[in-house]
């Protein structure tokens, strides 16, 4: 049994490393980071709204742009291009978006996010954004392949650049959001202490940091591969 799993692992290791090259990985991260920044910029300057004043609307704008970008890009790197067309990958990414949002929302509520009618739109939009950081790209790439999901999200043992690219920013977003929740109970009386403003800031920061780290990992991985090939 151990041998078999090892073999499987080797296969999996080889598979994704073929599918994405180092410059491509950088490009993907660059685009998703830039889109995030641009959408914030657009919200702030074109519509003159921000997270503090209109958190729901701003969040909606950001998640729509970000999830579209992420699903469209990551669907190109689906692991099973033979069985699954590009369109199908996009569709499963879109389907996974609300499911992931549900998981994220439940997680947030379990950790203490406020429950109530007035918080509902904020929570929904926030969880959709979180879903586009975490679940949507993974769904586009892996589909329903349970092994991958568990390895990446339950065990955190990614291998290969593509898995790094999905795993590390997603964990970064979640951990960033977790840290972002810390100032909420303090009595500073700042508007950004409201749910979900500081959690969103934390999650976005964590996502960006995660992308930088994953770029580093991809680079290191590429160098190791090259050394091995030499």
């Amino acid at each position: 049994m151990a041998d078999q799993s090892k073999k499987e692992e080797e296969e999996e290791k080889e598979n994704p490393s073929k599918s994405i090259s180092v410059p491509q990985a950088f490009l993907v991260h660059l685009i998703s980071g830039l889109v995030l920044a641009i959408s914030l910029w657009v919200a702030h300057n074109l519509y003159s709204i921000n997270l503090v004043s209109h958190s729901s609307i701003t969040l909606r704008l950001i998640w729509i742009v970000e999830s579209a970008t992420v699903i469209l890009i990551y669907s190109r790197f689906r692991i099973d291009p033979q069985q699954c067309s590009y369109l199908k990958a996009v569709v499963r990414g879109i389907l996974a978006l609300p499911v992931g949002a549900l998981v994220n929302a439940l997680g947030a509520i379990a950790l203490g996010a406020p429950v109530g009618i007035q918080y509902l739109p904020k929570t929904i939009n926030w969880s959709l954004l979180m879903s586009s950081f975490t679940v949507a790209p993974a769904a586009s790439v892996f589909g329903l392949s349970w092994t991958y999901w568990q390895r990446i999200f339950a065990q955190t043992k990614p291998n290969g650049p593509l898995e790094y690219m999905i795993c590390i920013p997603a964990h970064g977003a979640v951990i960033g959001g977790w840290f972002g929740a810390w100032p909420m109970p303090l009595d500073w009386e700042r508007p950004w202490q409201e749910w979900p403003v500081c959690v969103t800031y934390g999650a976005m920061t964590g996502y960006l940091v995660g992308m930088i780290v994953s770029s580093g990992f991809v680079l290191a991985n590429g160098r190791r591969q090259r050394l091995k090939e030499d």
């Binding site: 997680g107 379990a110 950790l111 203490g112 092994t147 977790w178 109970p185």
Partner: protein, 977 residues
Amino acid sequence: MKLLIIVTVMISAVILQIIGLSLFVFGFFPVKPALSGVSGPESFYSDDGGDSDSVANHTQTSLPPHLLKSLYQELSGIHPSFDRLILMVIDGLPAEFVLGKDGLPPREDFREAMPYTQALLSNGMAIGYHAKAAPPTVTMPRLKAMVSGAIGGFLDVAFNFNTQAMLDDNLLGQFFRIGWKMVMLGDETWLKLFPGLFTRHDGVSSFYVKDTVQVDQNVSRHLESELNRDDWNLLILHYLGLDHVGHIGGRNSILMTPKLKEMDEVVKMIHLSTIQTRDNDQGKTLLVVVSDHGMTENGNHGGSSYEETDSLALFVGLKSDHSDYAASPCNSIYQVDIAPTLALLFDVPIPKNNVGVVISEAFDLLTDDKQLRVLELNSWQLLRLIQAQLPGLSCRNLPSHNGFTDGLASTIVECSGSMEKMLCCLYMNAVNLHSSWKSKSLSRSKSRDDYSCTVAAYHQFLKTASEWLSRRVTDKPVGLLAFGIVTMAVSSLTLLGLMICMSTEDQPGENQRLCNSITGMHRWSVNEIFLLGVMLILVMSMASSSMVEEEQYIWHFVLSTSYVLFLRKAVQPLASGSAKSLFKLMKGQTERHDIRISSIILLLISGRILRGWHQGGVNWTYLPDISKWLEQAGVNHVRSIQLASGLLVISLSMCALYLFGSRRKITRLFGLCFLICGLLVLWHLYHNNAFVSTSYDAAIQTQIIYAILGIATIGTFVALPWFIPLWFPGTCSELNVKSTSVTFDGQCIFSLVEFRDSSYLIGLAYIICWCLLQLLLQQPINSMPILLLLVQIFSSMLYFSCSGLQHIEVEVALLYYMGMTGHFALGNSNTLATIDVAGAFIGLSSHSMFLSGILMFIITYASPMLFLLSMLMYISVKCTSYLANHQDVDLGHLAKMILGFPCLVPVGLNSILLTSYTIVLVLMRNHLFVWSVFSPKYLYVCAATVCVYAGVFIVAATEIYTCWVLALRRTKQISIR
């Protein structure tokens, strides 16, 4: 490591900790022997005289106010010239603004802002002082110091947490007793301190710090009408605006000058009106302008820097208008000196616990003998206080100097030696000089020289005594504190070291090593690191006052995060068993994973409901929560929820019993017994509305229930190990069925099975009893959280029953954290205000401080104790895992792992929290919130320590007793065979 060594080290560490803690507490919160009661007529007599008792006896309480007033006037013999007092408190005004600093005049703009006050000062119509305030420089303690002359300790705040009202002897109480009418305008702190004393009042809140205008207008708007009336004797004005200006913009705020102008206008208005009333022969009025504390450059206060403690005391109208110019140099006094001065100026006894010295300039207009009388009265009062602090001190025991004859040389004695002797000697010097002066004045041979000598002697005594007394209150014995902290640190480091040693040593069992190599040798899993990190987070968060106030958020957040991490861990192993390898796995194992996942989801849900039950904390209490919502819905809903949760508690515990196996007689008997107890409690809850039932019958009923619960629990504890069936190899196969999932082959492990069973049953008995007790004692709204806590215990036991033996210390730590989180979920917080005092009298027919204290402790520490008691059940669950995994029992190993950790880990974690919080408290001793936030929290930490000790003691005692009885019975049985 040997078991014996571990136990010895642990016990000695605990003893060390107790010693360190008590040393620290007695050092940090000095329990000064304050005199209770109030000063009466006896304070005008010397203690030496025999006649004081007789006078005190028949006049103490019986006299009506006006008679008491005339008695005081007659006794004191001072006969002052004032009838009315206006006490104007300007919150946060540094004396520097009015009087300048180091002999220099105040700043140009400030001087120009207060022209009238400055004119009063320069004309000699007012005397101003730098009144040094004692830390903490916060309003309420400062007001107390001004009216009582005493510097309060923290514990007297803590001991009457029920009420903020001032119970000690104080000026306002004395004035009230002689029938004064009092009016208060301004900060509502006065109303909290002296409820019911004021005939008229208009309180303003100091809560809206941004408001600097309205808050003072609300005071001044009544001023004119009050000044025109003559039905009051004391008018208190408390202006908060200047403090608010400081908080917003600091000392140099642009609002400061206008605010000073406004205050100057008020002084002018009052002074002009007092001149007018005096001219109309309505009696002379004294205006005293004081500030409670100063402020730093940034406008903060609370600490002990010069800027903060430099408060003002300004007496307007003491001297006649024609007195000599520039007679009043800017002197420095203590804030507590205000109290005795005002007391003697208005002929009331000096408050009992006063440590202040009269301001002699205030009595300059009196004749010599009256001035000496003032000093004498003050000296008697201070001497009484000193005698209370140093019992056995009697100045008459000193070698008497033959001072009653004549000549100064014989009476003055060089004072030296110990403090006690010194104080006594100084007192005797003054007394002797005074009596010789008196005898001389009778024979009309008094001289100015004698008089000034006597005054100097009195002042020397008063100054020394006052300084000694106030140092006793504020000074912390550094050596004691340091020793206490070091002792606690050593003990907690020992416990920590012991924990680390045990957890590293016990891992390399052969099975575990195998497991570790399979799972990739990462012994430090995320969960462990996180649970260690939790300690770090808690310790760090304790240094911030807002985090201490809102501690429940941290616990809930951290605990639910660790649930999520455990959920992640529970999902992990399924990875290998995905759809295709499902067949390979045993069916039982997947079931186990299902149990684990579902129990964790149950934990998450119940944890979230518990979090939402009470908002808790200090700053966000107004936000909606489930308990408020239910209370709005009505009493009937609350009651039905209470009954339903009571019913559910009973049925859940019966379920737990059934899971254990209900076939044997002893189990059935046990179940029946506790079923009856539960139904009794339910019946009682149904028939008695918790707070309506103050009747005698209800108290008796409750006492009967206490007794039955106690008998059932103690009976289970004592008897169960004697009657649980012993298990012999022959009967092995029959008994295999009886427990949930023990399937092991061949070898019967003897006493472990019985041990497991009995500790399960005893643990269950403890839990049921504790829950039923809480249902009885807690507020009805809290019965649902009790049920949820029980659900948490059972579901975590379910999880732990499937989790193997790897991380026992982590699981015990998790249980401890759950207990602490539940503490806050029951509505507790780190302020003393949330303690449920009403519940502490349920079932008590007579008032007993001790019993209600115990009940209060039981109510407050319901949840930590519940989870500590559940350790017994945890031990039994782990025994089951042990039986499943190990063929033979290495008793030493087992004891270390299964019995050691549930006792060691809570004590260790608690000691870390205690020690670090002690250090935080010492670092924060000058913080603004040291008395309002950090010290109450420290009391909670100490009480939690007591709770952990009690819980661990119960667990350990039960285990040891059970082992002993089982071993005894086994040897007997074997010898019979």
